[in-house]
């Protein structure tokens, strides 16, 4: 009773409350990539009514409950169950698709099929789209559609360039931009004509902005680092910034004999060839350290004494890490903004020129980094870079400053009442910068966080 459908053919579906579409392929990971079925509930305009009409690995069920995707066993790898009676009237058709991640094509999949099953699992029809010549990574397998109050199934078998993201966009789903390429270095450069989907891709969780993310997490183990090693031009070594965002982690690969200076708390893990020594930088610092109440300006040195080795390091606070290649112009860094630097970089502390005498108390200490090498900045919050053109001015709240070009003109100012930030943070200091130059700011401020948090800490002790 089962019918083998040719491309373009359709069959009417019997009057039953529920059908199942069985989708199968071999091998499980064609070309080493995940294969994922998806379903789109489309209106007469060929677009979804909302992101919840996009059913895929992270949104296995449509909001109306009529379409549900689940794992299957046997020759079908996935089942898409459709309760025909509860499909909302606005839905005209349901497109069933299969997509691969990464730079591969469906030609690498064999035995591809979509079967139409009745409620008891009896096969009504099967369609085996020819994929041998396919260059695309996405395929519209078939569609279940209404025609004159009658549900029908059509064998489509149409390839779609670009993978799940572009396919979803095509159907009107708001998809977040592809995240950065995942851990393993990508295979040879992708064909320029194809928008290469990230190999890490996918999650249906609609974010606050209503944009859907396609990022996909592995079932077990750590997340992709979202990074790749970078060869530093100025420092002559490689480094990597892993998991950038709230909990960034940095790694520097030290050639034998090379040295890294880091904030005293920074070391996370290292090769046994590396030796750690505590050290205060500059003769002046001991004294200064005492002035800055509670501030540790101690640095560790991490030296690859017994051969090449790697050092992983991270800030104490939640936040990001930025790497700056110093070459010529130096960098001025807020005392909390310094995470590490390679040895050729000279780091000194200074008290800011408090010309206006507006400050009482602890003053404003900064670090000066000069020379040719790498500097790693840390932030509480994300790090944002502001580029100023010649003559351009920018006023920055002192608590949000991380670092800036040494050559840049700037003035510390007492914030006047008009500046609300000063009121809220209790800081009355802003910096007025004049370009050209680069400023690194952080999107959150530690002191404000402290004030915010303290309201919620239980009192007593």
């Amino acid at each position: 009773m089962s019918r083998e459908l040719q491309q373009g053919a359709n069959i009417p579906l019997p009057e039953i409350p529920e059908i199942t579409l069985g989708i199968g392929w071999e091998p499980e990971k064609p070309g080493g990539q995940d294969a994922d079925p998806s379903a789109f509930l489309l209106g007469a305009d060929q677009r979804v009514g909302g992101d919840e009409d996009f059913v895929f690995y992270n949104n296995p069920r449509s909001a109306c409950g009529s379409v549900q995707m689940a794992r299957a066993s046997g020759s079908d790898r996935q089942h898409c169950r459709i309760r025909l009676g509860s499909v909302p009237p606005r839905v005209d058709r349901i497109a069933l698709c299969l997509t691969l991640f990464g730079n591969c094509s469906l030609a690498q999949a064999r035995s591809l099929h979509i079967r139409v099953l009745d409620g008891q699992g009896g096969e009504l029809a099967v369609f085996r789209p020819p994929t041998a010549q396919m260059r695309e990574a996405a395929l519209i397998l078939g569609e279940v559609y209404r025609r004159n109050n009658q549900w029908k199934f059509r064998a489509v078998g149409q390839g779609f360039a670009g993978g799940l993201g572009p396919l979803a966009r095509n159907f009107g789903v708001a998809v977040e931009d592809e995240p950065a390429e995942a851990t393993p270095p990508p295979p040879p450069p992708p064909a320029p004509s194809r928008a290469a989907p990230s190999s890490s891709t996918a999650s249906a969780a609609a974010t606050a902005t209503g944009v859907m993310s396609l990022a996909k997490a592995p079932a077990t183990g750590a997340l992709p680092t979202g990074s790749r090693p970078v060869q530093s031009r100025v420092a002559g070594l490689s480094y990597e910034l892993l998991y950038q965002g709230a909990y960034a982690l940095a790694r520097v690969d030290l050639p034998a004999g090379r040295m890294l200076r880091a904030q005293s708390d920074a070391m996370v893990a290292m090769s046994p060839t590396v030796e750690v020594a505590g050290k205060m930088e500059g003769g002046l610092m001991g004294g200064l350290g005492r002035l800055v109440s509670g501030e540790s300006l101690f640095l560790q040195t991490l030296t690859a004494k017994h051969g090449a080795g790697s050092v992983y390091f991270a800030p104490a606070s939640p936040g990001d890490i930025a790497a700056v290649e110093l070459d010529g112009d130096g960098l001025i860094i807020q005392k909390d903004g310094f995470l590490a630097s390679t040895e050729e970089v000279h780091v000194n502390t200074q008290i800011q020129n408090l010309a206006q005498g507006i400050f009482s108390g602890e003053g404003f200490f900064i670090l000066k980094a000069e020379g040719r090498g790498l500097v790693f900045l840390e932030s509480y919050g994300a790090i944002h870079r502001l580029e100023l053109g010649p003559g351009e001015q920018k006023i920055v709240d002192n608590g949000h400053l991380v670092a800036w070009s040494r050559s840049m003109d700037y003035r510390l100012e007492s914030a006047n009442i008009g500046i609300v930030a000063a009121l809220t943070s209790g800081e009355a200091i802003v910096c007025r910068f004049q370009g050209p130059g680069t400023i690194y700011i952080q999107t959150r401020q530690g002191k404000q966080f402290g004030v915010w948090l303290s309201q919620f800490l239980p009192t007593g002790k």
Binding site: A215, A246, Y247, S264, D265, V268, M270, G278, Q300, F449
Partner: protein, 243 residues
């Protein structure tokens, strides 16, 4: 930044997925009727009405040891789908990621004592005090949790979780405050950090672990004690007290 989730799938006899991997991960388990999952006592976020929570301590030994951990609660809950299949959501207290590990029956994993979130029925848990051969430590010592058996284990972290792959014969030194989990088969030594490690002042930890490969050590990109040291001076009304 995207918060990627994993596919719903069955591994180690547990159907689960981890949602929002990264800073605020959430574990979703789909229990068959009668199936249960062990979880850290505060972990339950939401569950179906078919699921019952039972308080339980794992292993007869634990009651005693539990007392030795000052302030450490080593109680588990068991969430059992006693009245039909059900879904439960579990989460750690701190911001951070979750690490799903599939135990194959051969490898035993060691977890930091704060690192346990949940495990499936086939996973057996026990606590042990680490081998403190050199008598370096006074005070509470270094207790860890061991997980063996067949099933799924979920570790939790503060910060991002990184897999440190240590090749055969090579070594890696890891700050104790950054450890999440490692296979028991991996040779390692607890060491007191050398005097050069100023880290011990600020974070209060003077311990590092030296691991010998082959093996994969899971580390976290942030140290809770260092976070504490960072945040303390930022709190306005506690500023005066230095320690």
């Amino acid at each position: 930044m995207a918060a990627p989730s994993s596919d719903l799938q069955t591994l180690g006899d547990l159907t689960f997925r981890v949602l929002y991997r990264g800073a605020f991960a959430l574990l979703e388990v789909h229990l068959r009727a009668g199936q249960s999952v062990k979880a850290q006592s505060d972990a339950m976020v939401a569950m179906d009405a078919t699921v019952d929570v039972e308080g339980k301590m794992e292993g007869g030994l634990l009651g005693g040891i539990g007392r030795m951990f000052s302030g450490e609660s080593f109680f588990f809950q068991t969430l059992r789908a006693s009245r039909g299949p059900g879904v439960a959501h579990l989460a750690p207290a701190q911001p951070g990621d979750l690490l799903p590990i599939e135990l194959d029956g051969m490898t035993t994993y060691v977890l930091q004592k704060d690192g346990f979130l949940a495990a499936s029925e086939g996973v057996e848990l026990s606590t042990t005090a680490q081998n403190l051969t050199r008598g370096l430590f006074s005070g509470e010592g270094f207790f860890v949790l061991k997980a063996r058996g067949k099933g799924m284990l979920f570790a939790e972290s503060y910060g991002a979780i990184h897999e440190l792959d240590v090749p055969a014969g090579e070594e890696m030194i890891v700050d104790n405050g950054h450890l999440v989990a490692w296979p028991e088969s991996m040779h390692y030594k607890l060491e007191k950090a050398s005097s050069g490690w100023i880290s011990s002042f600020t974070s209060g930890e003077g311990l590092v672990c030296r691991f010998r490969g082959p093996g994969k050590v899971y580390i976290q990109s942030r140290n809770p004690a260092a976070f504490g040291a960072w945040v303390r001076p930022l709190l306005p009304n506690r500023r005066s007290g230095s320690s």
